[in-house]
Every structure is written in C-alpha cells, then in structure tokens.
Symmetry: C2
Subunit: 304 residues, 2 copies
Amino acid sequence: MSDDLLPSWRPGATRDALLRFLEESIELPAERRFACFDNDGTLWVERPTYIQLDFFVDVLRERVAAEPSLRDRAELAAVLAGDPAQIDAIGLERVVGALLELFVGMTPEEVTLRSRAFMSTAQHPLGRPARSAVYQPMLELIDELRRREFTVAIVSGGGVEFVRSVSQELYGVPPELVVGTQPAYEFGRDATGRPRLTRAPGLGGTPNEGPAKIAAIQSQLGRRPVLAAGNSAGDREMLEWACGGGEPCLAILVDHDDADREYRYASQAATFAETEGILDVAARSGWTTVSMARDWRRIFPDDR
Amino acid sequence: MSDDLLPSWRPGATRDALLRFLEESIELPAERRFACFDNDGTLWVERPTYIQLDFFVDVLRERVAAEPSLRDRAELAAVLAGDPAQIDAIGLERVVGALLELFVGMTPEEVTLRSRAFMSTAQHPLGRPARSAVYQPMLELIDELRRREFTVAIVSGGGVEFVRSVSQELYGVPPELVVGTQPAYEFGRDATGRPRLTRAPGLGGTPNEGPAKIAAIQSQLGRRPVLAAGNSAGDREMLEWACGGGEPCLAILVDHDDADREYRYASQAATFAETEGILDVAARSGWTTVSMARDWRRIFPDDR
C-alpha cells in the first residue's frame, strides 16, 4: 500500500495497523463496510470545555441580556461564572437540564440555525475557529474509508442536533448518520392546524454513552461497525462491539498525550463511570491506541 | 421535461404534479432534498396480509414443529388458524406481542438472516415472489429523486429490522435510512466478556405510526422531508409535515382502487385510529392522490 496514504500519520505501528485494516477491509461485503466515530476528543477538541458547552453559554448570555432574572438560577449562575467547582457541586446533570430549558419551545430548524450561527464565528482557546479544531489525521482516515466505500457514522455523547448542524460541513456526514443524545420533543399543531415539533424540557432518552451507544447504533443505523474510534470510557462498549463480530476489525483509542500541540489529559466519559482505565482496556483488548504526540505529524488541518 | 420520465405513470394530473415537483425541486439546497416513503401499501403490497405477518407465521410454524405446546397459546393458535375474526377478538397488539416473543434472545444478525431466508422464497398470493410485490411506478419515482440528489428514506409502521433486511435489495435504501417500529433489545455480555445485544420481549417504543413518524424522522434522520408518500391514516402527520415547511413540496397518497390488478380497499392504519377519512384529508389538503387504477400503467416490475 502506497506511502502517500494518511500523510498526517507518522510511520510506525499505529499507521501500519490502519493500513493493514484498510487493505484487509477490501474483502468485506459492501454491507459490512461501516465505521463509527465518537466526536468529542476523537474527531475534534473537547478541552478546555466541550464546544457544545460553549454554545450553551453563548445562548445563555443572549437570553440573560433579555431576561436578567435568569442569573438568579444557581445552575445558570455557575455556568455564567465559568466555575467548574460550582458546576461539580451542583452536578453536571442538573446544570445541563437547566441549560436545555433555554431551548424549550424551539423547533428543530430554529435549534439548527442557532447552533450554525454560533459555529460560524466561535473561536477555540487554541487560537483557531472552533470549526477548524478538528483532527486532520482522522479526516484523512475517514476519506480513505469512503474511498473504500465505507459508510461513516458519528456516534457521539453530544446533543444530536448540535453535532448534525456541522457534521456535513466538517466531516461530510449527513444528519441520518449522526447518533447522539436526543432532546425531548413535543408534537402539536399551530394555529392553522399544521403539525409542529417543539423542544420539551429534558432529554428524549438516556445520554448516548456506554452500552447506550450500541443500542443506538442498532436502532438508528441498523448494522454493526467493523471499525470504531473513541477516546473515553463512554466509547468502550462501542469499540468492543466493532471488534466482537469477526475479522477484519479495528478499534481505535485516541490518547491525549500532547501537551504542546493540544492537551495532555486522561479522557473521561461525561456521564459514565469508569470501571477500568480505558488505556488499560485498550492494551488488554488489542485495540490500536493512538498517541497524539507520537503518531500524528499534524493535528489540525491548518497546521504547518 | 422529457416524456420518457416515469414511464409507468399514465399521462394526467397526477403525473404532471410529480413532474412539476421534480422540476421545482432543482432549486432546493442539497440538504433539503429529502423524501420519506411509507412501505406497506405505498412501496409494496399489504393485502391480503402484511408480508411481515406472513414472515411471523413462517417463524411460528418452524417453532411449533420443534415445540408443539406453542399451539396452546390462544394468540398463536389464532395466527396458525389464519382467522382474522379470532385475531380481532384477541386484539392485534396482544397477538403481535406473542409473535414477538418468538424472537426473544436472538441477535440482530440472526433476525436479519431469518427474514432474508423467508424473503428469498416467499410467494405472494398475487402469484409472484413477495420480493417482487413492489410498485414499479414508485421505484421509478425514487430513481428520479435520486437522479436529482435526493436522499430517500423509508418510514414504515413495520418492524425496522424486517424492512431493513430487504430495503437495500428492493429499494436501494441502506439500513440507516429505514425508520420503523423498534423491537426491544437487551445489552449483555457473552461467556468471554464480549458485548451482546439480544431481543427482549415487546417493543422498544411506540408503534411507528401517526405523530410518532414525525418524531422518529426528527430523532433518527434529523431533517424534514419535502416529499412524503403514504396510503393510510398512519401516514397523515408525515404527509402534513412534508407540506408544512414551505414550497416546493409534495404529499402523495396512494389510493388502492384497482380490484383487477391489485386490491380495492380503503387503507387503514394498523394501530392508529382514523378521525377523518384519509382521502378526504388528501382532497382538503391539496395532496396528490394516486389512483392505482387510473394513474399506473404498470403495477409490478414484471407486468407486461
């Protein structure tokens, strides 16, 4: 296989494992060429905060300007203060619940427009537009998979509509191939009798992490992947799922070990308890662990 | 627009409405080129029984041969007797619940293999293989939509895995573009610790009819269609949804009025109460009603 494949991946065992899988996958029937990627920390940056949380803060600031009494809610005050300790004390779930209330009554189209407006100008602390805080090596891998007629899906713990609002532009992934945490919707009719869907409080199901990712892959996408990529305990079952159905398969775990070019941290699931360090699971299971520091020549599309 | 488009549609107001929509849709941004088709009675035959019910009967007969005591269950006895009055007396929901129990413990792959085995040999009472009991005019419409870069989805009240098992072969629709009634799944691990999904009793949600179709389109597919096609009250909200979001749009209702070539009957939703005759809703709403007798030159791919 040619040397100019995956140019942002440095030569070594990790790149070799990807190239081997790409070669072997040619023998798979078309129906089985299916790959699932986590989003936060796998396709784009999740530090210092989830980009979706920045979006929530943006919506919150706009709403507080019109309705200052919103500042009196402890959950929202903690977010406005940007105080992780206060958020932890209140509990992420309660805080997210309060933030979700800001969207109650909005239609899906309104939510999409609002998140696109945010993403069109949002800057990431790493000094680039948020929409370019995506990992170039993963984009190259997705391209190679598509060249081999893979269907590529995103299976995220993030809000499904937020991810869908940018998935086509950032990754070439259409909305039906994005699985995420579902918001609650309410069916109704407008004054002229036409059907309406509007956001209701809370979620439409469980957060999309852990075993829920497998269930959602089955119910929404309808087939089992032969490749899965993730970075945290919230992706564990999905990676096990990809490599529990026969060969060839590939389970990719991204290790954030690059303090100079990105961040150095131990990945954690947002809502999901870890029973064993995910790097240990990867080593024990024969997954392909990606060291960002060692394996990635470039991290972002506009690097060098 | 050329005369040789949609050759199985006879010239007239219905075909003109389709051609007008196809022409106008060119102005839609790519993201909005999205069409949803019901399956039973819209893409393939639903009389004298749903083809999925024939599949259930096939599985039931196989299981009864191994385990004759299953005959003692009233719900299953009614199905084996093929007695609609008895099924009605017991209630379709209870009967379907008993049939779904036959699948408990099966993996998604096993369900798919079993339904493909059925579909590979099943014969339809109209004297053709079940997999060719599909409407040629609708296949031509789907082809024309795809030629205009539409994404085409199936939004069925039927079991999602049964429809997915044949959707690629029959309609060119991949599993992620099939929405249907979801079975319940249970997450577990096998003896070696690998994750398993197996069928649990009952459904994984509400039957996919009526307003549930809109909610499922949003949660699973993530965008609103500009074309929807159906045949019963279970499709009403979906058709209203397609034509409540701006022009151009097309809502297509198939009227089964051809006793000679197919069946003549008033379409009814399987689990969903009708508040107004669906043909009346169509006339009042300006939908395009398809008369199978008048508008379709051919009904099945192998006709004439």
